[in-house]
Symmetry: C2
C-alpha cells in the first residue's frame, strides 16, 4: 500500500511526458503549456488509490488516471474562458496567453485525447469505465452550467448549491475512485460505497475551500482572503447568511454587494462572525465527512487497506491551504 | 441494398429524437435547438452505406452513425464561435442565439454524448471503432486549427491546403465509411480502400464546393456567388491563381483583396476566367474522383454492392448546389 504522496510522485513521473503530437504547433503547444502549470493531481491519484484498495495497481489504472487528469485540465481550460479568468496557478490562462479560439480548440483536442487513454484499458473493463467516465464528464458540464446560471439567479437554496457543487467538483472525485475500484475488480456494492465516499468527501472539501476563503490566513491559503466576498460569489457561507441574517444585517449585505466599498471584506466578515457561520460551516463539513467515512467503513476490504484513504480525507478537509 | 435517399430517411427517422436529458434546460435546450437546424446527414449515411457494403445494416452502425452526426454538429457549434458566424442554415448559431459560454459548453456536452453512442457498440468492435473515431476527431480539430492559421499566412501552398481540407472535412467522410465497414466485418485491406475512397471523394467534394462558389448559379447553389471572394478566403481556385497569374493580374488581385471595391467579385472572376481556373479545377476534381473510384474498385466485394456508393459519389461531385 502506498501513501498519497508516494502515488503522487509515481503518477507525476509518468504524466510529465508529451501527450500530444508535434504538429500543428499552434494547436498542441497551448495544450502542453497548460499541463506544465502543474496541479495537485488529486483526482488521478485517487484513481490509483481506488485501484490499490482492491488489488496491486494495474497499468489500466494509470491509463484511466491519465484520462482523468487530462479531462480535469480540459474543463479548466474551457472554464477559464467562461469565467474570463486571466490567471491559473499564477500563470496566464490559454485564452489570455493565446486567444479564445485557441483555448476552445485546445480544450476540445484535450478532451478527445482522454478517450485515447480510456481506450488503452483492458477490453473487459472498457465499456464500464467508458460509461462511468462519460457520465461524469456530462455531469461536470452540467455543474458548470448551473454555476453560471446561479450567478444571475436571485435565490439559490442550499440544496441547489450542494447539487451544483456535487456535479461540478464532487462527481469527478467520486468517479476517479470508482474507476480505480472497477479496475481492481471491485463488485457493485463496494463501487457504490467508494463513489459515495468520494462524493461526500468532495462536498466537505468544497465547504473547507469556502471556509478558508473567509477565515483562512493569506500566507497559508496562498490566495487573498475574501476573494469570494469581493466577487459576490455564492458560496456555502454566503448562502447561509442570506438565509439566516436578521433584517438589519440583510440590508448591510445588500449594501455591500451593490456598492463594493473598500472595507467590504471586513464588514462582510463581521456579519459572518455575528451569524456564527464559521461554526455552522464546520458542522456542515463534519456532517459530510462523517457520511464519507461511513461509506469508507462499509467497503468490504481489510480495514488496514483503507488507511491511506482515511489519512488523505483528513488531510484534505483539515487543510489550511 | 438501399439507396442514399432511403438510408437518409431511415437514419433521419431514428436521429430525430432527444439525445440529451431535460435538465439543466439552459445546457441542453441549445443542443436540441442546434440539431433541429437539420443538415444533409451525409456522414452518418455513409457509415450505414459502408456497413451495407459488407453485410446487412447492423444496430452497431446506427449507433456509430449517431455518434458521427453528433460529432459533426459539435464541430459546427464550436467552429461557428471561432468563425464568429451569425447564421447556420439560415438560422441563428448557438453563440448568437444564446452566448459564447453556452455555445462552448453545449458543444462540449455534445462531444461527450458521442461517446455514449460509441459505447453501445458490440464490445468486440468497440476498441477499433473508438480508436478510429478518436483519431478522426483529433484530425478534424487539427484541420480547423490549420484553417485558422492559414487566414494569417501569406503563402499557402496547394499541398498545404489539400492537407488542411483533408483533415478538416475529408477524414470524417472517410472514417464514417470505414467505421461502417469495420462493423460489417471488413478486413484490413478493404478498410484501407474504403477510407481512401472517402478521403479522395471528400477532397473532390471540396473542390466542387469552391468551384460552385465562383462559377455556380445563385438559384441552384442557394448561396451568394462569390462569397469566398468577398471574404478573401483561400480556396483551391484562389491558391491556383495566386500561383499562376501574371504580374499585372497579381497587382489587380492584391488591389481587390486590399480595397474591397464594390465590383470585386466580377473583377476577380474575370481573372479566374483569364487563368482558366475553371478548367483547372474540373481537372483537379476529376483526378481526385478517379483516385476515389480506383479505391472503390479495389474493394473485394461484388461490384453490384458498390452501385449505391458510385451513384452517391457522382451526385456529390457533379452537383450544382
Amino acid at each position: 500500500m502506498h501513501s498519497f504522496k508516494d502515488l503522487t510522485n509515481h503518477f507525476s513521473e509518468r504524466f510529465n511526458t508529451t501527450h500530444f503530437p508535434e504538429f500543428p504547433i499552434s494547436l498542441y503547444e497551448p495544450c502542453n503549456y497548460f499541463l506544465t502549470l502543474g496541479g495537485k493531481r488529486i483526482r488521478p491519484v485517487l484513481c490509483l488509490m481506488g485501484n490499490e484498495l482492491f488489488d496491486n495497481i494495474h497499468e489500466d489504472a494509470y491509463n484511466a488516471a491519465t484520462a482523468i487528469e487530462l479531462f480535469h485540465n480540459f474543463s479548466l481550460i474551457h472554464d477559464d474562458i467562461m469565467d474570463a479568468a486571466p490567471l491559473r496557478r499564477g500563470m496566464q490562462t490559454i485564452h489570455t496567453k493565446y486567444n479564445n479560439n485557441t483555448a476552445i480548440l485546445s480544450g476540445d483536442v484535450m478532451l478527445i485525447r482522454c478517450y485515447d487513454y480510456i481506450n488503452k484499458i483492458t477490453p473487459k473493463y472498457l465499456p464500464k469505465v467508458l460509461h462511468l467516465f462519460n457520465k461524469t464528464a456530462r455531469e461536470v458540464c452540467e455543474g458548470q452550467q448551473l454555476d453560471m446560471d446561479f450567478e444571475n439567479k436571485q435565490n439559490v437554496s442550499l440544496d441547489e448549491y450542494i447539487n451544483m457543487i456535487s456535479l461540478k467538483t464532487s462527481v469527478l472525485i467520486a468517479s476517479s475512485l470508482e474507476i480505480g475500484a472497477v479496475l481492481g475488480g471491485a463488485g457493485e456494492g463496494n463501487c457504490k460505497h467508494i463513489y459515495e465516499f468520494g462524493r461526500n468527501l468532495g462536498i466537505a472539501f468544497q465547504i473547507q475551500d469556502d471556509y478558508l476563503d473567509a477565515f483562512g490566513t493569506a500566507e497559508k491559503f496562498g490566495k487573498d482572503i475574501g476573494g469570494d466576498i469581493k466577487q459576490n460569489k455564492k458560496t456555502f457561507l454566503m448562502l447561509h447568511i442570506l438565509a439566516n441574517a436578521n433584517e438589519k444585517q440583510k440590508e448591510e449585505i445588500n449594501y455591500l454587494i451593490q456598492n463594493n466599498p473598500s472595507d467590504k471584506v471586513t464588514r462582510m466578515l463581521d456579519i459572518y462572525k455575528a451569524c456564527n457561520v464559521d461554526d455552522w460551516a464546520k458542522e456542515l463539513k463534519d456532517k459530510y465527512l462523517q457520511t464519507a467515512y461511513h461509506h469508507l467503513e462499509e467497503i468490504a476490504v481489510l480495514s488496514s487497506r483503507k488507511q491511506a484513504l482515511k489519512e488523505l480525507a483528513e488531510f484534505l478537509v483539515a487543510r489550511e491551504y
